[in-house]
Amino acid sequence: MTTTITNNGNQIIAAFAGRLDTAAAVQTAEDIKPLLEVSGKEIILDCTELEYISSSGLRIFLTVRKDAAAHGCKVIVRNINADIRQVFVMTGFVSLFEIQ
């Protein structure tokens, strides 16, 4: 599981690749810390290469969302696959994020 963060003007993009399961969550939580410090930007959670997300992964996304709201940032979840889309619907997380 890898997380790559890039700044792109008014956007900050976190690209996830691999399986965001309980084992990967600790490192990912560490990797996304730069997202928690930004303000006034759009945060893109790019899931093009993300294969799977567990509850631990959802909690990480939730942390980003809460922090972003406090800092006036918008969070967009981009390019989720069918399995992750299913998780978002089942848990009601679909109404927490803008999904593109």
């Binding site: 509850s55 299913q86 998780v87 089942m90 009601g92 109404s95």
Partner: protein, 356 residues
């Protein structure tokens, strides 16, 4: 400049640091008390009279003042409220907070004759009591506190700009026009207060009806839907769904479902409650079917209401198109919503409510 003016200005220079300290204490005392009393105001401002302004005042009516302490507006504080009733609330608060010099305080709102309009403001001349700060030097200085509404403030500011700033005397007909506007703003102030009181009464009545379960008597709108949600009508369904995987429930706002229920044809809170009663069991069945074979142990508090809406659409034959409309209403129009609808339809298609 005469000797008398020079003496008062010298006193001003000497006492300025002390008055600056008073300014800070007065501002924080007012701001804290306003917050503590749950009042919302447009602004709390303080200003120190400048040396030039004081010199101008002394040039005009210097003989009236023996010393600096006779001038009560070296420090001026102003609270600007939204509503006229709040002026009285802040006044009551100030009376408890400060020692008021009643002899020199004036309620200009009551000075007008029945047929005149103009500057409306409540002016208190105050001192800081020892209960606020025990400092004899600060306790001794008087300051002016002005209380007025936003509209009174707007009128007074424009009147000052037109009438005084230019230094040119304004013809009587224009002064009359300015004062006519004061009358209109006074009416507007009273109307805003009346509307606020009526809205508060309306909310209280709605809250009472919701509390008593008389939901069919409450028309559905943003305000009443919020009252309904405060009673947490979907908690019990959410708890049942959470129990499937011993999940934690993440609180999220549900107000965006108002448009969905309106699109379903709900006109009263009772209509929503009927839908809830009718589809709660099927909404749970859908959740159990979806979550039962996963280890997802976190859900959002929107899952219950979301599943009720999904079931309502599918049970009434709304199909995938209906689901796309639902996701469009909740998430904004987006091509992902079509995929979400496909997926949800596939998950639900063999459940009992589909054949009802």
């Amino acid at each position: 400049m005469d000797l008398h003016t020079e003496m008062i200005l010298a006193e001003y220079d000497a006492k300025l640091p002390l008055v600056e300290r008073l300014q800070k204490v007065v501002k924080s005392t007012l701001t804290d008390a306003i917050d503590r009393n749950g009042l919302v105001v447009t602004a709390v401002k303080t200003r120190l009279k400048t040396r030039d302004s004081l010199e101008g005042k002394l040039a005009l009516k210097g003989s009236k003042y023996h010393s600096l302490s006779d001038i009560t507006d070296i420090l001026g504080a102003r609270v600007i409220t939204f509503y006229t009733d709040d002026v009285d609330r802040i006044a009551a608060m100030a009376e408890k907070l400060f020692d008021i010099d009643w002899e020199n305080s004036v309620d200009k709102r009551r000075l007008h004759d029945t047929d005149s309009f103009g500057y409306n403001s409540l002016h208190y001349i105050c001192r800081l009591p020892k209960s606020v700060i025990d400092d004899p030097e600060l306790n001794d200085i008087r300051f002016e506190l002005q209380l007025r509404t936003t509209l009174q403030h707007a009128w007074a500011s424009i009147n000052h700009d037109i009438g005084y700033k230019t230094g040119v005397e304004i013809p009587r007909e224009y002064l009359r026009q300015i004062n006519r506007l004061a009358g209109i703003l006074e009416m507007a102030d009273d109307e805003f207060s009346r509307i606020r009181t009526e809205i508060t009464d309306y909310r209280r009545r709605v809250h009472q009806l919701v509390q008593n379960g008389q939901l069919s008597e409450v028309q559905l709108d943003g305000d009443t839907f919020s009252s309904y949600l405060k009673a947490r009508p979907f908690d019990s369904l959410n708890r049942r769904i959470a129990a499937i995987n011993q999940a934690e429930i993440q609180e999220v706002p549900l107000t965006n479902y108002l448009g969905v229920f309106k699109a379903f044809g709900c006109n009263t809170l009772g209509d929503i409650d009927q839908l809830k009663k009718r589809y709660a069991e099927d909404a749970y069945t859908l959740a159990r079917h979806q979550l039962g074979n996963t280890d997802l142990d976190i859900i959002s508090s929107s899952v219950g209401i979301q599943n009720i809406c999904i079931v309502c659409i599918l049970a009434q034959g709304g199909g995938k198109i209906g689901l796309i409309r639902l996701f469009n209403a909740l998430n904004g129009e987006n091509e992902q919503n079509s995929l979400l609808a496909d997926l949800t339809y596939e998950q639900a298609k063999n459940l009992p409510f589909m054949s009802k």
